[in-house]
């Protein structure tokens, strides 16, 4: 198992920090990619941050009311070794989805 730390991302528009409003996960939780992690408030708005990856949450930084600077650690995940250290995420094998149906082959002339 390996640990991957995720820093507070740049939330845009030149914002340099954000205040934790509410954690939506707890240490020990297993999360999927895009699962909501935390609600934070900037000087512009309150936003919910989705998880950048799947893994087990081993450490969260900041209690509600605390201010975190962009680039400072926000959350630490534990991931299996075979997914650690890579850039990107392991693709999921999903059942193929389609919207297009094919018309029958015309008679061969």
């Amino acid at each position: 198992m390996a640990e991957i730390s995720f820093p507070l991302p740049d939330l845009g528009e030149g914002l340099i920090e954000a205040t934790v409003l509410e954690w939506l996960v707890a240490e020990g939780d297993r999360v999927e990619r895009n699962h909501p992690l935390v609600e934070v408030e900037t000087t512009k708005s309150a936003v919910e941050l989705p998880s950048p990856q799947a893994g087990k949450v081993v450490k969260i930084h900041g209690e509600p009311g605390d201010t975190i600077k962009v680039g400072d650690p926000l959350i630490v995940f534990e991931v299996p070794d075979d997914t650690a250290g890579i850039v990107g995420t392991v693709p999921k094998e999903e059942a193929p989805k389609r919207r297009v149906r094919l018309s029958p082959v015309p008679d061969e002339d």
Binding site: D81, I86, G88, V90, P91, P96, V100, L102, S103, P104
Partner: protein, 371 residues
């Protein structure tokens, strides 16, 4: 032979080669007759991920040829960012599996020098998009040294490049450089589609006397499949019919082969029998294999992740047209990425040919009417 050899030891090691080969052959013979061996006349079928299959292939060629060396960023102590070289430094020593500075031009330049000195380097460029700084070495040295030296300095270099998209990675981590490499005289280019292909094609590439660009479809690293380990009988040359059909041929390579097989399955529900041709070698292209398939189906769709313009699909389409013009029922369709820089992970699914876009391509060749 000590476990951790220095490069200087390699000449002595070469002398022991025959004995080692004999032992290897004996071991192989035992494997063949072992009652535990799965079905099949040779070797042993194991279920491996493509990661594991590539790792195994590298270990095999390192074992078989003491002049083989592996170099690249993080390939040693870490075992590679995709773990393809996992455990190899511990097994073969720091002289034969070594980390390089973050300088792709240097990795390839060093490989050229090693090849000139009689070694078989297997360099890794960590991601497709990092091959750009090494293009000068690849084009001007790797591809030409054999020609320039009138055959006295062959370049037995196998350049491993984790390639193509599909893992939600940032810029420079999802690019498809096959047409760039295929355009360079002196290089061979190959891409495996599954663990079995990966294992055997890498072993084949690494024992060739000429340079091979080995494009690993990184989105397929984790999928498992049967691999006939050590088994003879694998045909490394040419293309491969991954599924037979009679109405249309899908031509693909790398990660797109698996997607085309999914499409073929869905098309079968509509009564359309799709043949999937895994091109495998992107240079040289198996023109005869292409012609054989398309002469039968009389329709072809080429699928690749790279941008459309001057992509390898254009070359494939031209070859099909030259060979099959008289029998083609429709112009060759191309379903490809777009003429834009490879997008960020969130837009990847819109960029890489998806099932519906490929089905549309099939529909276009099915309903085409002359005049």
């Amino acid at each position: 032979m000590s476990e951790h050899m220095t490069l200087g030891d390699l000449d002595a090691a070469q002398a022991n080669r025959e004995a080692a080969d004999a032992a290897q052959a004996k071991g192989h013979a035992e494997t063949v007759t072992a009652p535990a061996a799965a079905e099949g006349a040779e070797g042993r079928v194991e279920t491996l991920s493509m990661q594991q299959a590539l790792n195994r292939a590298l270990a095999d060629v390192m074992e078989e040829n003491p002049r083989t060396v592996i170099l690249g960023e993080d390939v040693g102590r870490l075992g590679g960012v995709f773990r393809i070289t996992d455990g190899l430094q511990a097994r073969f020593g720091e002289q034969r599996v070594f980390d390089t500075p973050l300088a792709e031009s240097g990795i390839l330049g060093m490989s050229v020098g090693l090849a000139m000195a009689g070694y078989h380097p297997i360099p890794e460029v960590q991601f497709d998009g990092f091959a750009y700084p090494a293009i000068n070495q690849i084009v001007c040295q790797v591809g030409r040294m054999n020609y320039r030296s009138r055959g006295t300095l062959p370049m037995p270099i196998t350049l491993r490049v984790p390639s193509f998209g599909g893992i939600r990675a940032p810029e420079h981590h999802g690019e498809s450089l096959e047409s760039l490499f295929a355009h360079v005289p002196g290089l061979k280019v190959v891409s495996p589609a599954d663990p079995e292909q990966a294992y055997h094609l890498l072993k084949h590439a690494a024992t060739r006397p000429d340079p091979v660009i080995f494009m690993e479809p990184k989105s397929r690293y984790w999928q498992k499949g049967p691999v006939n380990v050590g088994g003879a009988g694998f045909q490394p040359g040419g293309s491969r019919v991954a599924r037979t059909g009679k109405h249309v041929t899908l031509v693909a390579w790398g990660a797109m082969v698996a997607r085309c097989l999914q499409v073929a399955e869905l098309a079968a529900e509509d009564g359309i029998e799709v043949e999937v041709l895994d091109l495998r070698w992107l240079k040289p292209i198996d023109t005869a294999g292409l012609a054989a398939s398309v002469s039968k189906t009389r329709r072809a769709v080429v699928v690749h992740e790279a941008p459309l313009t001057a992509g390898l699909g254009a070359e494939v389409a031209a070859l099909i047209t030259e060979r099959c013009f008289g029998t083609l029922r429709a112009p060759v369709e191309r379903v490809t990425g777009f003429d834009v820089p490879y997008p960020s992970g969130d837009l990847e699914d819109e960029y890489i040919p998806n099932i519906d876009r490929i089905l549309f391509g099939i529909q276009r060749v099915l309903e085409y009417r002359r005049g």
